[in-house]
Amino acid sequence: MKYFSLIIAATLVLASCKEDPQEPFVPNVQNLEGGMLVLCEGLFQHNNAAINWVSLPSGSSDPNFFETKTGRALGDTGNDMMRYGDKIYVVVNVSSTIEIMSAIDFTPILQIEMTDNGQPKQPRSLASANGKVYITCYDGFVDVLDTATLSIDQRIAVGENPEGLAVSNNKLYVANSGGLNFPDVDSTVSVIDLNTLNELQKITVGLNPGGVMVNDAGDVFVISRGDYGANPSRLRKIDPTTDQVINASYTFDISAMTSMSATDMLVYDAAGVYQFNFQTDAITTTIPMNMATIQTLYGLAYHPTENALYVMDAMGYTNEGVIRKYDINGNYLTGYPAGLNPSKILFFD
């Protein structure tokens, strides 16, 4: 009994020895070829937004590709990523920065601090046209970035808490979400003349507009996300010539969309992934994938060369994500590890 306590202590110390998790193998990537960049949003106030590089089809990945290339972290809450010309633009919302990288080898080019009188603008989404990159900022503006000088030329006032945006018919369509006034959210889309950079009008599309996309014909599609309750998330369509909402009552509920081809796009929510045909203006095909195997469908990308779907599974938002690859018939092909909350993919052949 005399040494009972000491034995307990020693046992506890020995039993508690446990190895820390091992860092995975990281490939040395020189050029962005044969793979994909995955933007992982991370979590608010965790400073853990990341860009992964995944080599296809080997599946080897660098989960901190941005850090590998820059020696520093991406920041807090990465919201959007876009390739335009020979550069990649990344929006980091809470850090309030735009990161500009080479689209050839991902060499860092410039970090732009998005502040206005010392206050963060909280950039959100990206669109591009005519040598400009347009950036929605949660403070109620769209910033215009000149891709030649890599500086912000102008700020265009729009509605509250703008989110997605897209260009059609030399006009910029900006979804005003008003998300920070929830539940009294906005329901308009601002139309901006790209010649004058002035707002022409606001179009009412439905509660809480978020994503905006344009097809090859110039039709503007908007997701109005509703109130996450009685008013469901719905698809709207705007005629870019008249700037009128020409189909305000699609009968299906969807929460997001992504481009696919000149004739179709993919629309989806937690219940399923569907092919939407622009000619028939309707869902034509349900991709028969097993949705039960996807825990949190957070994003979807279509790979035109492979004719494959890449589902970004956020795995409950607080776990590392998984990119699940399916063929166009919904057959599961393979999976790739990703960071926290993967939301955007850029493919490089």
Binding site: M1, F4, S5, I8, A9, L12, V13, A15, S16, D20, P21, Q22, E23, L43, Q45, H46, N47, N48, A50, P63, N64, E67, T70, G71, R72, A73, G75, D76, V92, V94, S95, S96, T97, Q111, E113, T115, G118, Q119, P120, Q122, D139, G140, E160, N161, G178, G179, L180, N181, F182, D184, Y228, Y298, A314, G316, Y317, T318, N319, E320, G339, L340
Partner: protein, 666 residues
């Protein structure tokens, strides 16, 4: 060197008793106790003394609680930062906080912000799993899994003279502070009062690693100002009864620096809190027969939050909350000896205790979506304790009826909290003791968890915790080298179900509180204290503890099944060395927290580095004349200038200093 008040504690739990195995005495007056046998108290982290508290000189009580075995502090910053405690892997809402034997609560948050409770004026801090079942603590405090008990100078009787203790402090980050307390006994009356003012700009430099790049910064918008005031009066009623009236208030105005966000240093949010509490009780301690206590406790807490640059339509956010609480209760304990002679021999005794308590809590807010939450809690408790020779068995049965009401409707919960403890003392009394405890406890969802905007979920059920503790306690005295040494070991197992956690439900930006998780907690702790007295003016002390805990997510089908829960370190340890020579004192205080994960998934991306910090205190006290003493103390915190954080992105201060000048009339 005569016995006087300096007597041996027979056991660690006892305050003043004589170990008759060491000193064969018939009466205290007749014996001279050898100097090496005289000790004031054995230093242990689970019962910090006034001397410990003064030396540690912490910003708030969280710094003291961090030293207690099994405690994990979650600190969001230095002075003024939100600080909560997890005891043995259980959330902060499972810990009852008592000040001068009154429970302090906050129904809105569900737990106390330890960063807002001052450490000045404290004379002891105790922590543990189960209080003495026969004490007269508020009934509801027995319903928590763990307790923290703070006792202030206002809870002790002053002699028939005025006692004054004043101090001024200057420290890093432009910290200034003045504190004064006084007390006086007069006849049957006793009076006490204190006041404190403190401010600081809080602009502390910090270091961090951004990716693989070392970086540094200065904490902005971290200014802090607080004022505390309190007064008490008590009257001795007859030989054994005492009536107490205590008032405490605080007012805090502070900037909120928020998390350190890479590339974005903006911060302009502010918070203002005011707290008023009034406490009244009458207690009669008849140690031979009946002891009882009638208590009443009312509180009002205001919290204002202001974000002047929010990107909503108004351009700002201004939230105001007012919490009301009123508690009244009665507790009675009775000693029933088997035989007449057992009154004093304490060899075979049976105790019973019963009591009831009613608490009303209410929240008002300018947030219309929050409604006007109201909670009525009724507690009932019966307990029995049996002592025979070296065996002690006690059992408690409690029930709580809770009615939650808001514009969303009404919810009623009934919960039962049985617990039991048995101890057995080996060999002679007071030398070695084994202890086994079982408790079933729960914690109610807070008003914020129930009703706060989209996050709130009015259907939440209480979180249930089963606790099993096996302890072993060993105290020895090495007569020949003069060391007193005490060792405690404890193993614990907790099972938590209906764990209340926030998870994203509709999308990443809309989280909601859910009863989804289960957790299993097991581990052990060892604690030791030692003291070596060379003579009355010369001694050295040592105290240390180590806790190992596995706090494991066992939520069925969860990806993180089997993973260590977020922010639960597997290892924590404290080790302090104190040296006293005449008026000089020195203390080196060490705290170690092992690696943790910022989220439940134990992957490298969530990994947080372990840290070790060392604080040093050097002091000198000089008696000017009879009953007048002046003192000076320098505290160096984070001596090694370690860069560390309890919570991801909330970097703590580097090395900083605090100089205290003290004048005392005792």
């Amino acid at each position: 060197m005569f016995a006087g008040g300096l007597v041996l504690p027979a056991f660690a739990f006892a305050q003043v008793k004589v170990d008759t195995n060491l000193v064969p005495v018939k009466s205290l007056e007749a014996v001279r106790i050898p100097a090496e046998l005289v000790i004031y108290h054995l230093p242990l982290f689970d019962k910090l003394s006034k001397e410990d508290i003064e030396q540690l000189n912490t910003d708030d009580v969280a710094g003291l609680v961090a030293k207690t075995p099994g405690a994990t502090i979650r600190s969001y910053g230095g002075l003024g930062g939100l600080k909560t405690v997890s005891m043995r892997g259980l959330g902060g809402q499972h810990t009852a906080v008592l000040i001068d034997n009154f429970l302090v609560t906050n129904a809105q948050a569900g737990q106390m912000n330890l960063g807002q409770l001052q450490s000045e004026g404290l004379i002891s801090v105790k922590s543990g799993v189960l209080q003495n079942s026969m004490n007269l603590a508020p009934i509801s405090s027995s319903f928590s899994s763990n307790y923290l008990q703070f006792r202030t100078f206002m809870d002790i009787r002053s002699p028939e003279r005025t006692r004054v203790n004043t101090s001024i402090r200057y420290g890093s980050f432009m910290r200034r502070e003045v504190y004064a307390q006084g007390s006086r006994g007069k006849g049957h009356w006793n009076f006490g009062a204190f006041g404190k003012y403190r401010d600081a700009n809080g602009a502390y430099p910090y270091q961090f690693v951004n990716g693989s790049t070392p970086d540094s910064g200065v904490r902005g918008n971290n200014d802090y100002q607080d004022m505390h005031f309190g007064a008490s009066m008590s009257r001795q009623m007859g030989h054994l009864g005492k009536l107490r009236l205590i008032y405490r208030s605080s007012r805090i105005d502070q900037g909120l620096p928020g998390a350190v966000i890479f590339y974005n240093e903006s911060a302009d949010e502010r918070m203002n809190t005011q707290d008023h509490r009034i406490m009244l009780d009458y207690a009669k301690h008849d140690y031979d027969q009946n002891s009882y206590r009638l208590y009443l406790n009312g509180g009002m807490n205001d919290l204002e939050y202001f974000d002047p640059t929010h990107l909503n339509a108004e351009g700002f956010v201004h939230d105001a909350f007012r919490n009301y609480s009123i508690t009244g209760g009665y507790v009675h304990s009775k000693k029933i000896p088997e035989k007449e002679e057992d009154y004093y021999s304490e060899s075979r005794l049976f105790y019973v205790k019963w009591g009831a308590e009613q608490r009303i809590e209410m929240l008002e807010s300018n947030r219309t979506t929050l409604g006007r939450p109201f909670r009525a809690s009724t507690y009932g408790l019966v307990a029995g304790k049996y002592e025979k020779y070296k065996l002690m068995v006690e059992a408690t049965a409690g029930a709580q009826l809770v009615v939650d009401e808001n514009n969303l409707g009404r919810n009623t919960h009934i919960q039962f909290t049985p617990n039991a403890r048995t101890t057995y003392e080996f060999k002679s009394r007071g030398k070695r003791k084994a202890e086994l405890i079982y408790k079933r406890n729960f914690r109610l969802p807070s008003f914020n968890e129930l009703y706060f905007g989209e996050v709130g979920n009015s259907d939440l059920q209480p979180e249930i915790a089963h606790q099993l503790d096996l302890g072993y306690h060993w105290k020895i005295f090495e007569r020949y080298i003069g060391w007193h040494w005490e060792l405690k070991g404890q193993g614990f197992y907790n099972h938590v179900k209906n764990k209340i956690v926030a998870i994203p439900t509709k999308n990443l930006f809309i989280w909601s509180m859910q009863n989804v998780d289960r957790a299993m907690i097991y581990g052990g702790l060892v604690e030791s204290g030692a003291i070596r007295r060379f003579n009355d003016n010369h001694r050295i002390e040592f105290m240390a503890n180590y806790t190992w805990q596995r706090v494991i997510d066992i939520t069925p089908d969860a990806i993180t099944y089997g993973h260590q829960v977020a922010y639960a370190p597997e290892h924590t340890a404290n080790a302090d060395v104190m040296y006293f020579y005449k008026g000089f004192s020195f203390r080196a205080s060490n705290n170690f927290v092992s690696s943790r994960y910022a989220l439940n998934q134990n992957v490298p991306a969530n990994y947080l580095d372990p840290f070790w910090t060392m604080d040093v205190a050097i002091g000198y006290k000089h008696t000017l004349k009879r009953r007048h003493k002046i003192g000076v103390q320098l505290n160096v915190r984070n001596l090694t200038n370690a860069s560390y954080a309890f919570i991801r992105s909330y970097v703590m201060p580097g090395r900083h200093y605090l100089l205290t000048l003290n004048y005392e009339i005792f």
